[in-house]
């Protein structure tokens, strides 16, 4: 990293020491877990029937909630970044709330909304639609916690892209929907992509809200984190092996989104 003759970075050396400790705090537990992996049994452990069912369910539900995040999150980010209306700051605060809320609290809130006795759940139940204990409940829980990631990423991209191009397009006679489709969205596509990837990762790791709200049944609601939590009771090796799978996916996802952002940088600076 340090090149001779490079410009003065102005960071005192003790800052590097503390930064190193901070880095270790994150890396060391992962190394410790890696050391606990039962390598000869690794493949059988992660390909057992229940593991594969959990992994498949996790991938399917996370994909579904990422789509839902895009469908709902893009308009939200647009409204927050470009719109001007009373209560805008309040809306942003509420949309970001799941970022800091303990997931179990989200689960309880969802339960009282979509549960059998809930605000929307009761009329839905009367109409013959049941959400509790279904895969839909898992997707709802994941979308609830993942939506802010997409909105934050996209809103940031929209703000740094500015609206000059859009204004030009509009003066040339493009209608708002055309501007959105042909100018705005292509401009912020990298931001949207990294937001979607982060939402996917957050959905994949969702645990608390799912456990509280959706239940736990193999192939229906028992996602990978729930399977790990359960396996830990009897088979620590399986729990560690599955944890490693989630870590690997998380590393890949974060790497992907970080790479995206790096490539994105010059584009942001240009206009």
């Amino acid at each position: 990293m340090k090149r001779i003759g490079s410009s003065y970075h102005g960071i005192p050396s003790w800052v590097f020491v503390i930064a190193g400790v901070g880095g270790l705090l994150v890396v060391l537990p992962l190394v410790a877990m890696l050391a606990k992996v039962n390598w000869p049994q690794f493949i059988p452990l992660i390909t057992s029937e229940s593991s594969l069912a959990a992994l498949g369910l996790s991938l399917r539900t996370s994909a579904a909630s990422t789509v839902l995040c895009i469908v709902l999150g893009v308009p939200l980010a647009l409204v927050l970044a470009r719109g001007e209306f009373p209560g805008q700051r309040l809306l942003r605060a509420f949309v970001l709330l799941p970022l800091v809320l303990p997931p179990v609290v989200g689960g309880i809130a969802l339960l009282y909304t979509f549960g059998r006795q809930g605000l929307l759940g009761k009329p839905l139940e009367a109409a013959g639609i049941q959400i509790a204990f279904s895969t839909t409940a898992v997707v709802l829980a994941q979308t609830f916690v993942a939506l802010p990631f997409l909105v934050v990423s996209l809103e940031g991209a929209l703000r740094s892209a500015g609206n000059k191009y859009e204004a030009v397009a509009a003066t040339l006679g493009a209608r708002p929907t055309t501007v959105l489709r042909r100018v705005t969205l292509p401009l912020v596509l990298p931001g949207l992509a990294s937001g979607a990837v982060l939402s996917f990762a957050r959905s994949l790791g969702e645990f608390g809200a799912t456990l509280t709200f959706a239940g736990s049944l193999e192939g229906v609601t028992r996602t990978l984190p729930l399977e790990i939590y359960l396996q830990r009771e009897t088979d620590a090796d399986a729990a560690v092996a599955l944890s490693l799978v989630l870590v690997a996916v998380a590393v890949a996802v974060v790497g992907l989104s970080y790479g995206n952002r790096q490539r994105n940088k010059p584009v942001e600076v240009q206009p």
Partner: protein, 268 residues
């Protein structure tokens, strides 16, 4: 200049904060000294830490209070969690003096790790009961009713003790359940019933007693096919062997029996 001033003020604030926290810490330390031991009347003193299964929360909280009242100068710290979690914690060096498990399997696990002092004593039993929401919306009256189509029943997963007990009852009664959810703890099962998401759940008698009017219990004869036994033992690494033994004696003695029986536990 103004930036430096800001920074200084911020530093001062931070320092003040750190200091007040440190002082508060000291004050807390000073204000809770070990109560003076009453001399000859109470030879026991000091603190012990008891790791107990989550289902023992109410009873052991009561027992610890009684123990402290009877032995001035002692303090019982309690930590409640799933039995297998507690075994993992003790194996990883958590400072426990007494371990009370919700099943013999987890006590055996701890004994296999050479972490049990002497032999464990069985002090209580627990059986399953059907929990339904107050109105009993699915009109459940027997174990077989749980297998009726359309009944949303929630059980424990077979990996945890209450799930193993559920499986044993299913096998013995020839009834196969198809639960809508298999939870990893009995608390989660109860939660699904109290929130009325489920029509019925299989939990322990003691859970239903503890939940009060939020659920209704329906006993069923097949429950005696799966009786859970609770063992208690001193932890091998404990430095407070005497105090640990005294606490165990209280749990297994008449006082403990009474408190446990009131909460719905059976005698082994």
């Amino acid at each position: 200049m103004s930036i430096t001033g800001h920074r200084l003020r911020l530093m001062a604030l931070l320092l003040a904060g750190a200091l007040s926290t440190a002082l508060a810490g000291c004050a807390a330390d000073i204000s809770t000294p070990a109560a003076p031991s009453a001399g000859a009347s109470s030879p026991l003193s000091g603190e012990i830490t008891v790791f107990a299964a989550a289902s023992l929360k109410t009873t052991f909280t009561q027992l610890a209070q009684d123990f402290e009242a009877k032995n001035p100068g002692t303090k019982v710290n309690l930590s409640f969690a799933g039995s297998s979690d507690l075994v993992t914690q003790i194996s990883q060096g958590a400072p426990a003096d007494v371990f009370a498990s919700a099943d013999t399997k987890n006590m055996t696990k701890l004994a296999d790790a050479q972490l049990v002092e002497g032999t464990a004593v069985n002090f209580a039993t627990n059986i399953l009961e059907i929990a339904v929401p107050p109105g009993n919306p699915a009109s459940i009256s027997s174990f077989a009713d749980l297998a009726k189509p359309g009944v949303k029943v929630v059980t424990c997963a077979s990996q945890v003790p209450c799930g193993a007990a559920t499986e044993a009852v299913e096998k013995a009664s020839g009834t196969t359940l198809s639960p809508v959810s298999e939870e990893s703890s009995v608390t989660d099962v109860l939660g699904k019933v109290t929130s009325q998401e489920a029509d019925a759940g299989l939990v322990y008698v003691t859970d239903i007693k503890g939940a009060g009017s939020k659920v209704k219990g329906i006993p069923f004869p097949e429950s005696d096919k799966a009786v859970n036994t609770y063992p208690i033992a001193a932890v091998g690494t404990s430095k407070k062997k005497e105090l640990a033994a005294a606490f165990i004696a209280m749990v297994t003695g008449d006082d403990g029996r009474k408190i446990l029986a009131d909460a719905g536990f059976g005698t082994p």
